[in-house]
Amino acid sequence: MSAVVTTAGHWRRATLLLALAGLVAFALADLSISRGTPGAELQRLAQGLITPDFTATEALGEALATTLAFAFQGVALGAAGGFALALLWHRPGVRFFAASIRAVHELFWGLIFLQITGLSPLTGVLAIGLPYAGIFAKVFGEFLEEADPKPAEALPGGTNPVTTFFTARLPLVWDQFRAYGAYRLECALRAAAILGFIGLPTLGFHMETAFRESGYSQGAALLYIFFALIGTQRLWLHRRLVPVYLLAAVLWAPPLSSGPDGALKRFLTTDIVPAPLRDGGGWAELGTWLAELGTQQALPGVANTLVVALAALLLTGVLALALFPLASPHFGHRPGRALSHLALVMVRTTPEFLLAFVLLIVLGPSMLPGILALALHTGVIVAYLTGRFSEGIRPQRGYSQALTRYGYEILPRVYPNFLAFLLYRFEIIIRETAVLGLLGIPTLGFYIDSGFAEFRFDRALALIIITVMMNLAVDAFSRILRRRLRLQTPATAY
């Protein structure tokens, strides 16, 4: 028998590899349900979800306005910074810088800026704007790289580079920029809400309080307001109104610092200097400090982060393969699709961090709530993207049985895209996993949060740098795997 060389074979091997890693992760993970009566808690949660109480939250309008204000200013800052970086996208140094600032999660940036600019709007704006500048830089840079070079070449000889850029480069990608900016605003609204968990006065602040105190009706109302805000974005986000919104955002929450004078200098020159050096020690002490940090915090942190992320990836893949028919025109019927579409949108809109928080309350602390939250959120996104992709498929033969149609017609055609979406999302999963530590799951964020809580900023920063390196390594792994499998990078997946 001759060797089997099929493209599907490559996908199968990659799938097997990832599934194996996921199974090992599940074997290692702490999946205990430590809460005595999760069923009863779940029942109370469900009851809360159907009886939302919109009057329970005081100063709800303010929280809503602050969430919007942070999101708008953060996106504006990120787009401006990312645009500037994108102009220098051909320089490897710029790419590395952009990759590094986007590898630090908004919440980690928030924790850093709390030390410098205090509990102020500036902290919220910078926590969103800085990582978003890194993301915008990558996306804008790639748009420009892929744009048609011919119009610029056809300009009269001697036209200067600035003029060339604004007349024959930028107009080619302007529409893409705008569409991407609108998508980023949705992400920024989620990020702004979540920043409430570290004390900033956004919607998340009230959600945390409500859910923690089992005020599920109040929490549900906040959640529904948040869904409505994001769900209606198309209606209120008009191009001509953007400057108005931005001005209102700046007036409502002026991006000013409330940190003490000299906080930046102190943070940079004292706080984050490794303790042994600050106390006048030498290299030997620094070595001990690093070794201790490495074995007691960094290693378990990285290991736990990988375990949670890989387990979540496996579950995400299984969920997405099971759910994508709900979003595909090749299966089911129209009312069913509309209903499942609504469910998909709601789960997608809920930030994974918030989902993990609620599940932690129901199930008690372990890795299980984190894995479930990541898998649910990402699985639904991948299912949705895969389902949408399958719209373009014209079945060759009409298999009447749904399962046969699934296996022979649809799955082989969507599989490469499914894998690409999944691998792409893995980068986001790993970033989110690290930050779940803030909720008490012992991933890297747990140790980072402890560092901040104990005022050991040197440790916190060293661990953030390790998180960045891990994220960059996962990015590289995912990129190499996608290239080896010859998967197209889906532009819509970011």
Binding site: D148, E153, A154, L155, P156, G157, V162, T167, L172
Partner: protein, 217 residues
Amino acid sequence: MSAFRFRGETLWRGPTAVLSDLHLELNPGEKVALLGPSGAGKTTLLEALRARALRDTAWCPQNPALVPALSVFHNIYMGALERYGTLYNLLNLIRPTAYQQRQVGELASELGLVDKLRVSVDRLSGGQVQRTALGRALYSERPVLLADEPVSSLDEEQARALLQLTLSRHDTAVVALHQQEQALTCFDRVIGLARGCVQLDAPAGQLRRHDLTDLYQ
């Protein structure tokens, strides 16, 4: 400007030699038609000419290389970018000045585009796109026109009128064409390219239609 001279040179397109051992002299004041089957090297020759006289060239490439999202006004104005300062160019991009509107408007009415001035190029027909690309070349006001099949999407009468208008505004011109009739009636000299070299080079007045047919066999 000085003459273009090629003395036994080879012109490349990527790794492929398109025209080898090229001997050619083009003098100021000549209006030259380039003929030949597709793939014969017309575009490569035009690009080589442009590279030698970048600043003297009014350029009209075959792929019109316009900016689809911008208006006909802006695309025509692009021919003049090099004449003005950066700030003026950017302001004119945001809000066209009255002077430029008048100047570009005059040219557009000669090209039959006056009612399309505020329409973006991605909404135009093929013929309108070509006229816009010609407008950009004309508005650059350079002495040497280098154009690659600039009127191929227009009907014969329009094509001839536009070609004559364009030629009258330039001192020297090299234009690749696929309509042989136009080559004989509008130009001084005809150069035929085929099989990687110059197959024909004669004053247009001395040529008949059947002299040209050999090129395409």
